[in-house]
């Protein structure tokens, strides 16, 4: 860790060498969406024809769809014609000039999370010269990755440099028609990440969006595609524990994972979008479609997520277990405080024989928040010997919040074994008093109980991420009691 820090700070101190890579023309596309806007986005990004057509088809299909209303969330209707679909370059005049101009509350949070000083300005959206030289850091990592043959780049770069992979895999896991938001995303997606791990390669490091070039301002319609070729292995970290400032209220990302034979993908998310103020005003709507396809035999996909942010979270990282003996896992901690609403869970679709899935979901509700788990375990007739284990626990803090579980099981194979366990518990007055009588403050008691509650999920996260996630949870639940 020490040497890593050193390496880091050395890199940060280096002179800026590469100039800004983001070179988007200063043309403003007026808000609204029609075929011309879709074509314009594609043209601006210099995309091959197949992609332009794919976007247009998605758009046309989106027009025929209705926004879903089945989730256990409430929000004012989104006016899709008032959104600007082409990310204009960030207006530097509006951004804070230095940390002095940043909301002190945000800075206080960074402090509690132990975010290094040089990263804070970037996170707070301060418009200064590269405070944190992510470009050179990323370059160092990229060299190591390319030696291993791993492709890790922005989605736009992948479109230019590896169109054959994009054409082959894009939309193969989450088709544009899948749902309202995936159709919208397919039409107008801005950028995102692309990963390809070749046959037999074990990716030499955890891949993190944090080190991605062009990470800033990829906007509200992000697209991620990760392909693990036969017998390869990759661990991908998404997100950041620090609260992110963002002017875009609606986020509708699509993440697609493809694991071929004997391959393994581990996808970890720690998400902390702005949840809105104590009254729930101004928070982000996070409507994400995430799905992994265990396409080959003996492949494995694990989703681990710690969700503390957003005004509304609506996401169900899922696995399609197509290959024989393939494994799908879902580990989730979702925290909702104040007026937050979270409707999250997973779908496990068993197609191949002897496929196995595990679902561990931990929902924490505090304040006036509503937290829902929604899960579907579907066993197809072909999936003989399929097994699923689901454990769904809810923890309530206070008496004005809600926890809901909507588990569904559809089994069409008699040899399938499906187990479901669910608990709901509450941090009781007795527990609080007991710990306070031992000299531990109310806040520390809540943290202790919450961290104990989440341990099973935290242990699935990469070590450093787990430590951050724990700190994040503590901050998220501050003032939840009393």
């Amino acid at each position: 860790m020490k040497t890593k820090d050193k390496e880091f700070s050395d890199l940060v101190k280096q002179k800026y060498q590469h100039g800004f890579v983001t070179d988007i023309e200063q043309e403003l596309v007026p808000p609204g969406l029609d075929e011309d806007v879709v074509k314009l986005i594609s043209k601006k990004k210099n995309e091959p024809e197949f992609l332009t057509n794919w976007r247009l088809k998605s758009y046309r299909h989106w027009l025929t769809m209705k926004e879903p209303t089945w989730a256990h969330v409430r929000y004012t209707p989104i006016d899709y014609q008032s959104i600007s679909y082409f990310a204009a370059p960030k207006n530097l005049d509006d951004a804070p000039k230095s940390l002095d101009e940043v909301d002190p509350k945000l800075l206080e949070t960074y402090d509690k999370l132990g975010i290094p000083l040089h990263e804070r300005a970037k996170l707070a959206g301060v418009a200064v010269d590269a405070v944190f030289d992510s470009v050179s850091v990323a370059t160092t990592f990229k060299k190591k990755l390319s030696e291993a043959g791993v492709i890790f780049c922005s989605f736009s770069e992948a479109v230019q440099n590896h169109p054959e992979l994009i054409e082959k895999y894009l939309g193969s896991v989450v088709p544009p028609r899948d749902n309202f938001f995936s159709a919208l995303n397919s039409a107008v997606f801005s950028d995102g990440s692309f990963v390809y791990v070749p046959k037999g390669v074990r990716c030499p490091m955890e891949l993190s969006t944090y080190f991605r070039i062009n990470a800033a301002n990829t906007g509200q319609f992000e697209r991620t595609l990760i392909i693990a070729d036969e017998a390869s292995h990759v661990s991908y970290l998404e997100g950041c524990t620090a609260p992110m400032r963002d002017e875009n209220q609606l986020h509708a990302a699509v993440v697609e994972l493809v694991a071929l034979e004997d391959a393994e993908i581990k996808y970890s998310t720690v998400q902390n979008w702005y949840p809105g103020d104590e009254n729930g005003i101004g928070g982000i709507y996070n409507f994400v479609t995430k799905r992994g396809d265990c396409r080959g035999a003996n492949s494995k996909i694990s989703w681990t997520q710690v969700e503390t942010g957003s005004a509304i979270t609506w996401k169900y990282p899922s696995c399609v277990l197509r290959g024989e003996n393939s494994i799908g896992e879902f580990y989730s901690v979702a925290v909702a405080n104040n007026f937050q609403q979270a409707d999250t869970g997973t779908k496990m679709t068993h197609i191949g024989a002897n496929t196995r899935s595990t679902i561990i979901s931990k929902g924490i509700s505090a304040g006036k928040a509503e937290n829902s788990y929604r899960g579907l375990v579907r066993v197809m007739p072909t999936a003989r010997g399929a097994r699923n284990y689901t454990q769904c626990d809810s923890l309530l803090i206070g008496d004005q919040c809600g926890a809901h579980t909507f588990p569904a099981v559809e089994s069409r194979n008699r040899s399938a074994k499906i187990e479901h366990e669910a608990t709901t518990s509450k941090i009781s007055e007795d527990q609080l008093f007991y710990c306070r009588q031992r000299g531990i403050s109310e806040e520390d008691t809540v943290n202790m109980i919450v961290n104990g509650f989440c341990r099973e999920v935290f242990k699935e996260l990469p070590m450093e991420f787990a430590v951050e996630a724990q700190a994040l949870l503590n901050v998220s639940l501050e003032g939840a009691v009393g």
């Binding site: 007055e429 527990q431 710990c435 031992r438 000299g439 531990i440 403050s441 520390d444 202790m448 104990g452």
Partner: protein
């Protein structure tokens, strides 16, 4: 120090949900002393323990409590704990997911920080509790379980005493720590309590039964009835109560 009054309860009146539970309780405890409080069910014994520890929902309508020369009733429960007031719970609560050793270490460190001492790490902590868990006949495996979860009645009570030994309180209030214990467990608990008796510390033992008082010999025995102390004495009083019950004390109190 030894003769100083550690705890002074004066004319304490406490109400719970429109019902008066304590009706003018007065009790003085000096450092070095062990007081046993006995009394029939519903006499207010547990209320006294809860009020001393700072539990909500107990309304103090009259009287005062001084602890270490300050007004105890002004302090939050955790502040009282950090000042060395320990309550051994009658029904220790289960806290799933929280490691027993972790809670104990957090409690010790909360106390140490309050006293301006540095926090101790896991290694030092294990060293510190080694002989204490032996004394309480607790296995290390037991430390790694969730707090009180799935513990037997005896294990819960031994765990309370272990916490007491680690925190070394100046005033321990043990609420029916002996209830539900078999003879062997009772001996272990008694050994624990006795090991912490010294001129600096005091103990209030709340109990139904005399049998613990044969193993932990009290300096004073008080009988609590209808929210006040109606008789005080020494160990002989406890024995008499054991033989004859409470009725004679009650009628004696009435005729006064």
């Amino acid at each position: 120090m030894a003769t100083e009054k550690l705890l002074q309860i004066e004319d304490l009146h406490v109400r719970v949900d429109d019902r008066m539970i304590l009706n003018g309780l007065t009790l003085n405890v000096k450092a070095g002393e062990l007081h046993a409080i006995m009394g029939p069910n519903g006499s207010g014994k547990s209320t006294l323990a809860q009020v001393l520890a700072g539990r909500d929902n107990y309304e103090i309508t009259d009287g005062s409590v001084q602890y270490q020369g300050i007004n105890l009733l002004d302090l939050e429960p955790e502040e009282r704990a950090r000042k060395g007031l320990f309550l051994g719970f009658q029904y220790p609560v289960e806290i799933p997911g929280v490691n027993n050793a972790y809670l104990l270490k957090a409690a010790l460190n909360a106390q140490r920080s309050a006293n301006g001492d540095s926090e101790i790490d896991a290694f030092e902590f294990m060293k510190l509790i080694k002989d204490k868990i032996e004394l309480m006949q607790i296995s290390t495996e037991f430390l790694n379980r969730s707090v009180n979860e799935g513990f037997s009645g005896g294990e819960k009570k031994r765990n309370e005493i272990l916490q007491m030994l680690v925190l070394k309180p100046q005033l321990s209030v043990l609420d029916e720590t002996d209830s539900g214990l078999d003879v062997d467990a009772l001996k272990v608990v008694a050994t624990g309590i006795n090991s912490l008796r010294d001129p600096q510390r005091a103990t209030i033992l709340i109990t139904h039964y005399e049998r613990l008082l044969e193993l932990v010999v009290p300096d004073h025995v008080h009988v609590l009835h209808e929210g006040r102390i109606i008789k005080s004495g020494d160990q002989r009083l406890a024995r008499t109560l054991d033989e004859q019950g409470y009725d004679w004390v009650k009628s004696e109190a009435k005729t006064l």
